[in-house]
Amino acid sequence: MNQVTIIDYGAGNLASVMFALKRMGIEPVLTSDPEVLIKAEKVIFPGVGHALAAMDALKAKGLDVVIPKLTCPVLGICLGMQLMCTHSQEGNVAGLGIFNEIVYQFEPNQKVPHMGWNTIFKLSDPLFAKIQEHSSVYFVHSYYVPVSKYTSAASYYGKAFSAALQKDNFYAVQFHPEKSGVIGEQILKNFISL
């Protein structure tokens, strides 16, 4: 089993991600040290909170420079995924630029945050092995990434949006696999066995 490293930069769901891995029998490494990160075998980039504050926290530790350079499989979760894009409307902040996409705010003509269990479809990468089309996973977010060439799973809330993105060694999910029951556990397992 590969060592899994979680980027520790004060994200709100860090404990949840760690506990989810421990339930699977994995003892993750938590680090905010770029030197440790660059040598990692699998990296999880969690995130709950505000994009601007999170980017500041990454920059303060030099993580904004090291994350895009990682060559091992990386999984961004929720805000982690949004920060991997070029720009976010939340706080009008520049992201890490791994995915050349803009993160938009949901229009207020529907309830925001998009909160709860929603279905994912057009599943198209190894992260979704053994996951059926239209499985339900748990989302909570007010900003979204449109469907693009990177989209490896879509969901629908007023419009279709990216539930997951993928490019080279970078994987990202808008939903919370650590809070998505057995489906979420399978997705985490799939990432770990990449």
Binding site: G12, N13, L14, A15, S16, F19, A20, K22, R23, V48, G49, H50, P108, N109, Q110, K111, V112, P113, H114, M115, G116, W117, N118, T119, S136, Y138, V140, H141, S142, Y156, Y157, H176, E178, K179, S180, G181, V182, G184, E185
Partner: protein
């Protein structure tokens, strides 16, 4: 399509689940973590833990509980009961809770909502509100329904949403414990006026009540305690029934 959520609520006192009717005749109902894990396996979409411990030990026991629940279960959960500062919320969220619910403390000091939203994001902040219908409209009550405030429910919810509450948990005291159905009229008005998710609470007695609260009350989620704890209604049976009525719910 976004699913409607079914949320069992666990009242916790001194770290143990208690069962009672309207906070009276409380009986020990065992370990909240075990009960939570069972509900998660049965298909609950989320859980709410409400600490009704009266002592200052509450903060510590609630944080310990949040950590144990987060370690054991793989669905989101909210904790509430006596949270009145950013520090209180921080302890619980870093212990592993996904959201915190605030009630009386927010009425007494509304800026608490702004502070929590700024620090943790709106999605972490659930405004719980207890209200009763009077001749003048719906009135907000504090301290588990013991203290009337003279504050109008809809005005307060509007202010709370403007201040950054990301979700509303509305309990109708008139319906709570009656098993006669939810306060659908007030819920529908609230759901239409405020564009944040709405959790309906108070009045669940039958499967039909849940269908009504989604169809008529326009709620995004429905919370219940007694009917689940006492085994009157099983979650898989309830969700299958709702699904059969063509309402989107998560079926395991």
């Amino acid at each position: 399509m976004l699913c409607k959520r079914i949320i069992p609520c666990l009242d916790v006192m001194n770290g143990r689940t208690v069962k009672g009717v309207k906070f009276l005749d409380l009986k020990d109902a065992g370990d909240p973590v075990e009960l939570a894990a069972r509900y998660a396996i049965e298909g609950a979409d989320e859980l709410v833990f409400l600490d009704i411990t009266a002592t200052h030990e509450k903060r510590k026991t609630l944080a310990e509980l949040a950590s144990k629940v987060a370690q054991a279960i793989n669905i989101p959960f909210t904790v509430g009961g006596g949270i009145s500062s950013v520090d209180d919320a921080l302890t619980l969220l870093y212990a592993g809770a996904d959201k915190v619910s605030i009630n009386s403390a927010a009425v007494r000091r509304p800026a608490l909502i702004n502070e929590l939203a700024a620090r943790f994001g709106c999605q972490c902040v659930v405004l719980a509100v207890d209200a009763r219908q009077t001749e003048k409209g719906w009135e907000v009550y504090l301290n588990g329904g013991r203290i009337p405030t003279g504050i109008d429910l809809f005005e307060w919810v509007g202010e709370a949403v403007d201040r950054g509450a990301g979700e509303i948990l509305f309990t109708s005291m008139d319906h709570d414990g009656t098993k006669g159905g939810f306060a659908n009229e007030a819920l529908a008005e609230m759901s239409q006026r405020f564009h944040v998710p709405l959790i309906a609470s108070g009045g669940a007695g039958t499967k039909e009540h849940f269908v009504d609260v989604f169809k008529i009350g326009k709620a995004d989620a429905a919370l219940a305690a007694g009917i689940f704890h006492f085994g009157e209604l099983s979650i898989p049976e309830l969700k299958q029934y709702i699904y059969n009525q063509k309402i989107p719910v998560r079926i395991l």
